[in-house]
Symmetry: C2
Subunit: 117 residues, 2 copies
DNA sequence: GTATTACATCGACAGTCGTGAGTGTTATTG
DNA sequence: CAATAACACTCACGACTGTCGATGTAATAC
């Protein structure tokens, strides 16, 4: 489990001395982290993750009424999840008469995906 | 923005008729979705995302006291974030005397990364 | 021994989350 | 017109979140 540790032997710092100066910094800057964390947070619910999975493979071809029976939640809760995904910029929707068709916005997951790999 | 929609013209269902049967199902199963959502949720905070970014590139070489000044949060809050990452199975730590060294568990992000790409 | 460092944990706080029942809005059917 | 479908929105609920200060614990320095 542990990873190779090549540590310079450390010593407790003197009384009142400032703590060890940071020698490394994140490559990912704050704004970038904010954007990616927002996407990750939206994917941080199993139902929303499965919703994105369905929508990615059947973009614009599934109405909300077909999504409801896939999950053991009420229609209003599903609508809430779709709203969260839209607020995160992951999906958008189109109305056709009574029905609403959602689809994953192209490249919405691109930045996070690239960072993860 | 909208995606190509090739929809068979739908009709409102008759009174009392069951709603449209779902024709598609998520490829990602429930347990898989639970695991990936847990990882995504842990990455759903900008500070934790930057923490993982640092740890991925300097595994086992940075003690917690070097991480604290990188972020504008208290030491206890940083410890809390590291605990969350560990609970999600993303990182683990090793104690060396007074210091604690965290590292990203190999392949911890693999499943989510593969699904995203 | 005592003092101090590094880090984790506890307690508390306001804020957000996922959830469902109920309601509202709009479009279609009859 | 009235009735009903599909969907979004409002309200309320308990549960969880990120945050900090304070405290606890273990190791090092003196």
């Amino acid at each position: 489990m542990p990873v190779d540790l090549e540590l310079s032997p450390k010593q407790k710092r003197a009384n009142g001395a400032p703590c060890c100066e940071p020698v490394v910094y994140p490559d990912v800057q704050r704004e970038e982290a904010l954007r990616m964390a927002e996407v990750a947070k939206a994917l941080g619910d199993p139902i929303r993750l499965q919703l994105v999975d369905v929508l990615r493979k059947h973009a614009g071809k599934v109405c909300v009424c077909e999504l409801v029976p896939l999950f053991d939640i009420s229609q209003s809760t599903l609508s809430h999840h779709l709203g969260k995904l839209r607020a995160a910029g992951i999906v958008d929707s189109e109305r056709k008469g009574l029905w609403a068709y959602y689809y994953v916005i192209p490249d919405a997951l691109k930045e996070l995906s690239a960072w993860l790999s």
